[in-house]
Symmetry: C2
Subunit: 192 residues, 2 copies
């Protein structure tokens, strides 16, 4: 169990085997069927969630009831509402499974103890956050600087695996477009 997670740990920071065994008891496995929720708006985000298998998404719902996808997480990715996780405030996010999934959960208490006791865990976590920050920044620049066509092709190049597994209207939502607009963009790109 936890193979993918341990592999991720190892690939970023040179953990010893003992360290990994120290980490193990802090983890909780969880399975989620497609469409089941990990977190619902209004609840406190009690776990950081590493995806071993499957696919999740986080999204917010606007006034008109439209879902806006904030993040996808395939295997090897981590997903949570970090703000709620850190502050303990109710979340404005929903997180649910797009496919049957196997997860590794880390509670806030576990996370804090790991940060304190295992310096390399802190390093791992720092690298993870840094990667997430850089990805977000790239996304922000792509939103403000690229045409919708460019954004779509850049998304497809960056995340071909997401594109294959996720329905198109969710990609539209992630890109901040309506499904109709994305459909027309695709048509235009295919023609050219």
């Amino acid at each position: 169990m936890y193979e993918v997670f341990f592999q991720s740990l190892r690939s970023k920071v040179p953990f010893t085997d003992e360290e990994l065994e120290q980490i193990r008891p802090y983890l909780t496995p969880k399975k989620l069927r497609k469409k089941q929720y990990l977190l619902q708006e209004g609840d406190v985000c009690k776990y950081a969630c590493f995806v071993e298998r499957g696919a999740l998404r986080s999204y917010v719902v606007d006034d008109k009831g439209t879902e806006r996808i904030v993040q996808f997480a395939l295997e090897g990715w981590t997903i949570a509402d970090l703000y709620s996780f850190i502050t303990g405030e109710p979340s404005t996010y929903n997180i649910d499974a797009l496919e049957d999934s196997e997860l590794v959960l880390i509670s806030k208490k576990a996370h804090e103890e790991l940060l304190e006791k295992i310096p390399r865990y802190e390093t791992y976590h720092r690298l993870q956050i840094t990667g997430a920050y850089l990805a977000l920044q790239r996304r922000l620049v792509s939103i403000t600087n690229l045409s919708v066509e460019e954004r779509y092709t850049s998304f497809m190049n960056l995340y071909p695996n997401i594109a294959q597994r996720v329905p198109q209207h969710m990609i539209a939502s992630y890109m901040g477009l309506t499904p109709e607009t994305l459909s027309r963009v695709r048509k235009k790109l295919i023609r050219s």
Copy 2:
């Protein structure tokens, strides 16, 4: 020297005085006059930059030559092109001073040594990145979920200090609007 920076360190992590003195030699002071560049597109970002006094911005230039402001940094903030800083690749960002400024620079080498030698520095840096990540995420949600009016008022509430010191067209650029549109939005808000 470095008062604001040391104050920032202390406020987030309980450094000892000795630790702070260990950090000091890794730092480089720098003054920048208004409009001078800290980083230009195509150069490698060699320093992470903490603002002691003054104001900086980072921006990218699109095909049409329009500047898109990515970030403002007033005193107490850190600014850099983290991607270029980490990877050593040429930057796509420009960073320049909006006012005469006093900075604390940390070279990549210094940063890496500090991360290794002073665990609390790693913790400080982790907390900084986490804060930056959360701010970016809030910004992304505000772009995709809020009307332009709401975004503007939320920006003004969140960063009244920036609004006071920075010309309006730069705020428009930061928000991804033309100056004309921002002007009209303001007019509308004042009337109501």
